[in-house]
Amino acid sequence: MQIIISNSSNEPIYEQIYSQIKRHILTNELKSGQALPSMRQLAKELDISVITTKRAYEELERNGFIYSVVGKGSFVSEQNNEMIKERKMKVVEEQLLSAVQNSKEIGLSLNELLDLLTMLYREEL
């Protein structure tokens, strides 16, 4: 599992860890049931404090991405609805982004694009 920490970023370090592990889970790079390194091990490897990794893990756990078993460590959760939804959201975002780019290339305005999207959504086209 790759985690790259920037010390000069304005984003707190625990958030950087949180979002990177989350991304690994959403992209299925970390599979459900897979064990994560212990908080202390990760802190040592990333050369940061234990409380930072603890905070990231707690946040991941609160949002259902991982679960912990006392004495055994933390594991990636089974894919739940929230995660599937989030993954789909990401795909939708990417597809919309490419639609926006294509629209800009041909000079389609935001309103025109919105009209088109509305029609498509309501299945009027």
Partner: protein, 293 residues
Amino acid sequence: MENVIELKQVHKSFPNFQVKDLSFSVKKGFVTGFIGGNGVGKSTTIKMLMNLLQPDAGTISIFGMNYNKHEKEIKQRIGFVYDENVFYEQSTMLDMRSIMKSAYAKWDDELFHYYVKEFELPIKQKIKSFSKGMMMKASLALALSHHAELIIMDEPTSGLDPIFRRELLDILHSFMQDGEKTIFFSTHITTDLDRIADYITFIHNGELMFSKEYYQIEEEYAIIKGATELLDRDTEKEFIAIRRSNHGFEALTSNKAQASHLFGDSVLLEKPSLEDIMYYTKKGAEGGAAINT
């Protein structure tokens, strides 16, 4: 969470200086960095933690015990690392081993040899010929070899080169792996704390400024930079101290959310370093919030 060290309303007076109403705790399984300028009471506090000085009032408990009744038990479980040479001039690491072995019930020869090898320390050479870095490693090897649960260090990184400082942090990271150990150390090289400290305890003029989780500091404090026109009697109250120049102001706030709400996009908000916090707190305590440059 369990507290390994607990200070309650500790007072200690000297002719020119006093530690006042000091209360804080150190959590088991974590690293607490103890910061503050020179002569603000860091070493006095550490000496009280080691029972080298006794408080005039207040209580100090370590592992839930106090020195009056359980000095021996407490000392057995602490590894103390000084910034000065506390070894006998002529002694070698082998001599020190014999001394430590007779003093500590849980002394572990195997562990000692492991650390001596790991830290590349010559065991038959007189310790007085060691470099500052080797001396620190020697002190640490001895402290770690009797299965101490609490490591207390007074300025362990001062006078060490950056490479060794980083090695030291690696050693400390390894030491913390099982979650049973606790480290409390004073330093004014605050960048070392970024890499390892879970909690920060900050004292100034013998008084506690704060003791909190490191990330909480980032969330509460901010450096605000902006045009001098933004400052007036009301807005100035938001700051611990303000540094003005002809080109704008820079100030520290401990209420990031409110300052951000008040000034909006008209100012620059930055993450403060511990040095910033120490500097502005000192200036703020010295007299009003204004620092003119």
